[in-house]
């Protein structure tokens, strides 16, 4: 399966899971599970920064239209799509030829760097999204608690997904 097809299927899958499963779970007013942005975290290393931005924006906008709060997720996704290359650069080994895999994953990067990478982007995503909601209406303590608790549940979900569905990783070869 080519990268394009695989990512299109992933996109539809993540949006559907977020809209019809996680948004319908009423755990608590402070704990809203978010996982859809894992789609952006899983995009290949080789993708250009500009197309990464556009894909991030469209992902957020799609979710926005489903959750009827236009702009919130789009802004947050564009932000994490923008800072993703910087985070990868910091966490990548010095010699970039050691990066033999196509996509970020625990196997490609090692568990600790991968979790740091996921945690940084998760915090940025949630902080920015909750900030936009807080600016329109809200209470400061609510905002802080929401960022922390939502980050916690999202990290838990990401770790669960990585353990339950280890992706079959292909080496990056010259023929691909």
């Amino acid at each position: 399966m080519s990268d394009l097809v695989r990512n299109i299927i992933r996109f539809a899958f993540f949006i559907l899971v977020q809209v019809y499963l996680l948004n319908k779970l009423h755990l608590h007013q402070y704990i809203i599970p978010y996982i859809y942005y894992l789609f952006i975290l899983w995009l290949p290393f080789s993708i250009s920064r500009f197309s990464l931005l556009i894909i991030g924006f469209l992902t957020g906008l799609t979710l926005d239209y489903f959750s009827m709060q236009i702009g919130v997720h789009a802004a947050a996704c564009t932000l994490i799509a923008y800072i993703r290359p910087f985070v990868i650069q910091v966490l990548a080994p010095k010699d970039s030829s050691e990066f033999n895999y196509r996509e970020p994953s625990p196997r490609a990067m090692g568990w600790t760097p991968y979790l740091v990478y996921a945690l940084i982007l998760t915090i940025f995503h949630h902080f920015y999204m909750m900030l936009l909601q807080y600016l329109q209406f809200g209470d400061f303590m609510d905002f802080v608690i929401k960022v922390i608790s939502t980050t916690g549940i999202s990290m838990l979900l990401i770790i669960t997904v990585e353990l339950l569905f280890p992706r079959k990783m292909k080496f990056r070869t010259n023929t691909a």
């Binding site: 019809y20 948004n23 319908k24 009423h26 007013q29 809203i32 920064r49 500009f50 931005l53 556009i54 991030g56 924006f57 957020g60 906008l61 926005d64 239209y65 489903f66 959750s67 009827m68 709060q69 236009i70 702009g71 919130v72 789009a74 802004a75 564009t78 932000l79 923008y82 936009l132 909601q133 329109q136 209406f137 809200g138 609510d142």
Partner: protein, 291 residues
Amino acid sequence: MRNIFLFIRRFFTLIAFLALQAVSLWLLFTYNKFHRSKGLGWANEITGKVNSQYKSVDDFFNLKVENQRLHKLNDSLLNLLPANFEKIDTSARRVRDSIPYDTLGNHREYLWREAKVIYNTVNAQKNYIQLNRGSNQGIKDNMSVLNSDGSAVGVVINVSPNYSQVMSLLHVQSRRSVVMKRSGNMGSIEWDGKNPLYLTMKNIPKSDSIVKGDTVLTSINSNFPPGFIVGTVAEIIADKSTNFYVLRLKTAANFYNLQQVHVVERVGYDEQAKLNEDTKKKIDDPKNNNR
């Protein structure tokens, strides 16, 4: 000129990033301000289609609860049949039947339509409900929405040809007029954006004697037909700085599992809204104010 192009090429990603941020923030603030946006019409049609597919599966698992609720409503309606009463004073009763004017000159005030909820959230601070009826089926802005058991749910704020969006009572900008059943005092309800089980009610004077469990009904001042339940008083807080109570209401509608709803049109709404506008204009106009 060359330097400008070099600058743009060097910071192309940053510029693209800022442009996309600007677009999303513009969408966010204009949409929430006016509850309308240019792209929303067709997007609403697409999400509506996906949502109704999902709903057809979801419905299957909720049949039992829904049946019980319908049965309850049917039961209460059967109790209202004229045949149940021995003597009816027709001159004092407001008749609502299916044609605008009947031969006796009775005026129709409310028109009920049924609709199905195809998407609903309670997690956000601004919760919207999507219905499977739109302007093609006669739904218009400002119609009120009641749950299948007759409890208040929200007000229609946007319609596309086949779907419509409802501002739920669980929306931090929602503000509706309601009335205490026992004393008839008017108040207003809003939501603090926290717990979807409770609403906040304001403007009830301390002279009113309120106990826990008192019923709160929709008022004639709002889009809702009067006399339908909104909630019951769960907690009474005396606001020390004013002469009013702040009440916490337990909502009568269960927002977690909305299924079938009634969309109620108030036939005279446009005329009444226009009269309100005109009155305001007349009062505010300095030319008319010379008395």
